[in-house]
Symmetry: C2
Subunit: 365 residues, 2 copies
DNA sequence: GCATCGTGATAATGCGCATTACCGTTGCAT
DNA sequence: ATGCAACGGTAATGCGCATTATCACGATGC
């Protein structure tokens, strides 16, 4: 407050008490040029009508270095320049331990990507949660501060996605999205799921049960489609069971369902469930994979040490994040990215574990 | 480009093609007031000379809701208002798996804290690494965009810390810092280390070896001091050995040193080392804790499942992050935080594991 | 000697908002 | 009638930068 008053009385001469910030005007004074020239030099403009001899450039740059001047990002942004800030919005809290396995590798990839392209990351953690989910658009959101936006989450609100497009906020979703206008980088769960299931079926399994989430997220649907395709291709009927809604600690019910089905192969969408079922099997004296094979359509980021390696899909999550940053950066650069390249699906490798084998003899006719 | 031209020709009437952004001026038009009034209403100013009847406020708020107007954060910032953005700088990359255990819980706490106070997080990932460490001040840094700064890292550059103070960037360090001007929230490693070592010594150990990093980070030094205090208090000499510089996979050498020392108690600064030594012991047929006790002065965020529980310190990292956000927020609020409260040390609990017991009989005289 | 051109800059403007100084009305007491 | 508060706002300004139109000046051409 006192600062303000003094500044008002005498903003120029009295040692500029307002935090002594160095501005382009100050640089200009010191270098004996105009503010405009400083800006032009800083932005290395050489095109068209702008001509500034090297001599002058050097002089200005010298002052800039000496004063350790740094441009104010807000002012840059307001004046229409890019900021090299990528927004990151996660529909679920990013770090809490439940979804840690999911987000952490993604963020690691995003961080690496951002570092490479020289961008900072703005995490929109202020988004208030309404009905358990965060909302992207709230009064006082700071979306516009970022040049572009990365969107993470299992399920996204299509209404919000559309509004992003409307508002001209350049966005890349991490994970395939059905909303047509949204570019994304996803994982080809359809092919991968199909491949894994086909590999399992090729071993001779005929009684198969598939445990999956009931959700409607694109990735969930994709995995189901992959399984369905494999079933159709083999002419087999695969039992289908939706597991308890959330992180379902009710694995006992699932295990019971598996036993009652008489299946020799369990396809578990979630790796945690696969592990849990494996534990149930061990406890019940059932040999995996001798009596029962188990495969998972995903990976925990960090399998417990020494734990059984489930045969499973290993989504390349870090690469996913890095690719998303790369795509967003391309789009932001103004380059005209062809539609085909704005929707990327990364292949998802299969990690061979020790839980898949041919069915027991008595189960084969 | 085309957009720009059209705008230049006719910025007002032609449907404002510049992304159709809604501004306060537009709100003002629609509500039949001036831009200033809109700003005053938005910021809920009621003090002093500003008087706007509820009627007008309502009318303006209605337009704001209908148009889904959101203030431009850059403009707000440029005009001197707070932005509710907290900068986060990590001296090491935040996510890569090596330091994952370290940063992830911290970030989780920071995220939770930020969510609570309604702030976004700006991760300065663009900071270029010079000589393996990131540098905070680089041309084009965007520090000023944030209201304040959280600083993470084992070791920080004192020069940069001082410059932060000089430049008036309000900062809170996560982890105790020796630079006097920097507020911090840290962990009381001195007391905790001392307590753990004293607890161990009370069991009768007389030959003790302490393996620690050679670094000069405050937290490293604190742990060493705690151990030293415990040694002094008990009148015991504790062998002291600096381990290999980095993530030291050379645990064999350390194990050899332990064996040669004839120690009955190993104090390992790093939990990973403790685990490795435990494995060595198992391999060599040495009983832990029957023949050899092992304690660690830290925790891995996630001990491998089923692995031996090392008796250790469990730094409350998530709380640390949350407290740091809270402190920074207090400082930013303009509240005059007393010096004593600007340097916080959280107590660090001991997690009882299965690797600490009395020394074997033959080792006691 | 006058027009022309290239050179090396600069003045002016606006981005969207917050803030302060001020201004026109009306009601009320003097 | 006159003053004078209280009321309900508004005009103007600046934050720091990017950008465009323009200008002064010397060199060159004819």
């Amino acid at each position: 407050m006192i600062m303000r008053i003094i500044t008002t009385l005498d903003g120029e001469i009295m040692g500029r008490p307002d935090s002594g910030r160095i501005t382009q005007r100050r640089i200009a004074e010191l270098a004996g040029v105009s503010q405009a020239t400083v800006s032009l030099v800083l932005n290395a403009r050489t095109d068209g009508t702008v001509r500034i001899p090297q001599e002058t450039r050097d002089r200005i740059m010298k002052v800039i270095e000496e004063t350790r001047y740094v441009a104010d990002p807000s002012a840059r942004r307001l004046a229409g320049a890019d900021n090299h800030i990528l927004g990151v919005f996660t529909y679920e809290p990013a770090f809490p331990t439940e979804s840690l396995d999911f987000y952490t590798p993604l963020l690691a990839g995003i961080e690496a990507g951002a570092e490479q392209v020289g961008s900072d990351l703005l995490l929109f953690t202020s988004a208030p949660a309404v009905e358990g989910r965060r909302r992207l658009f709230h009064e006082r959101n700071r979306l516009r501060l970022a040049d572009g936006l990365l969107l993470l989450g299992v399920e996204m609100d299509p209404v919000e996605l559309r509004r992003l497009v409307e508002d001209g906020i350049r966005t890349v979703a991490v994970g395939r999205r059905d909303v047509p206008e949204i570019p994304y980088v996803g994982i080809d769960y359809v092919s991968a799921s199909r491949a894994l299931v086909e590999q399992a079926l090729a071993l001779g399994h005929e009684k198969v049960i598939f445990l999956h989430r009931a959700g409607l997220g694109e990735s969930v649907l994709d995995r189901r489609q992959g399984v369905a395709e494999a079933a159709a291709a083999s002419g087999l009927d695969i039992l289908d069971r939706a597991t308890a809604g959330t992180a379902g600690p009710d694995t006992a019910a699932d295990w019971l369902a598996v036993r009652e089905s008489g299946a020799t192969l369990v396809i578990a969408e979630q790796p945690e469930l696969a592990t849990a079922l494996h534990d149930h099997a061990v406890r019940d004296g059932i040999d995996v994979p001798g009596d029962l094979s188990i495969v998972a359509l995903g990976s925990a980021a960090r399998p417990g040490e020494g734990a059984t390696e489930i045969t499973r899909l290993s989504p390349p999550r870090a690469e996913l994040g890095a690719h998303a940053v790369a795509l967003l950066t391309r789009i932001l650069s103004g380059e005209d990215v062809p539609a085909a390249e704005r929707r990327l699906l990364l292949p998802c490798p299969i990690t061979e574990g020790t839980t898949l084998a041919a069915p027991p003899l008595e189960a084969t006719r």
